[in-house]
Point group: C2
Chain length 119, copies 2
């Protein structure tokens, strides 16, 4: 029960749905998510963790990078098609499209990049 609540809680936030959306495109590191959604590194990291804790993501480490991707098996037992449904539900959305465009230009550079942009 707790787990089910946690899963839905993870999905009940716009930022996290947007993250799922770009991870449906491809595996990303934290700084790519940050760029694609134009959010802070803190927010990217924390929301990725939340989705991970809820069982929606896989984590793979590669040197300095934490690479997150959709865990297709994760929710299979009770919610087999949930992620597919989410994708469909977001389709055609303005923000979601922009995120995907920004993702194409995103590179694996981290908060340092963000700091420079600020100045």
């Amino acid at each position: 029960m707790r787990d089910v609540v946690k899963a839905f809680k993870a999905l009940s936030d716009e930022t996290r749905l947007r993250i799922l959306n770009i991870l449906l495109e491809r595996e990303c590191c934290v700084c790519e998510v940050m760029q694609a959604l134009a959010i802070s590194q803190t927010s990217a990291s924390r929301n990725l963790s939340a989705l991970y804790d809820a069982g929606f993501l896989k984590l793979r480490k590669d040197g300095l990078w934490s690479l997150y991707s959709i865990d297709q098996e994760g929710m299979k037992e009770y919610f087999p098609d949930l992620i597919k449904s989410v994708r469909k539900a977001l389709e055609g959305n303005e923000v979601v499209t922009v995120d995907r465009e920004r993702l194409k230009k995103a590179a694996r550079v981290g908060p340092g990049c963000a700091r420079q942009q600020r100045k």
Copy 2:
């Protein structure tokens, strides 16, 4: 997008999952929900509204009673089997079983009943 967030938010609460569970048994008025879950009338009413606003419930009026029931068509477009999945995910849960037992004994008497219990 907002609607999707709202839908998941509605499902990300234990009380509301418990409400869905008993409504899967049968249509209920507010006071029956209140008895089945052993919660206050305020809480029952508010959480039913939330589920209704999110598109999971139908509302039918019969005299004094507001009768809520699962809206099978509600989420069909994007989340066709969501409610079925929720049922499966809750199956075997302790609380959920107790709720169903109490529902059997519940009658259509409202807050007046609760007020008497308090004294």
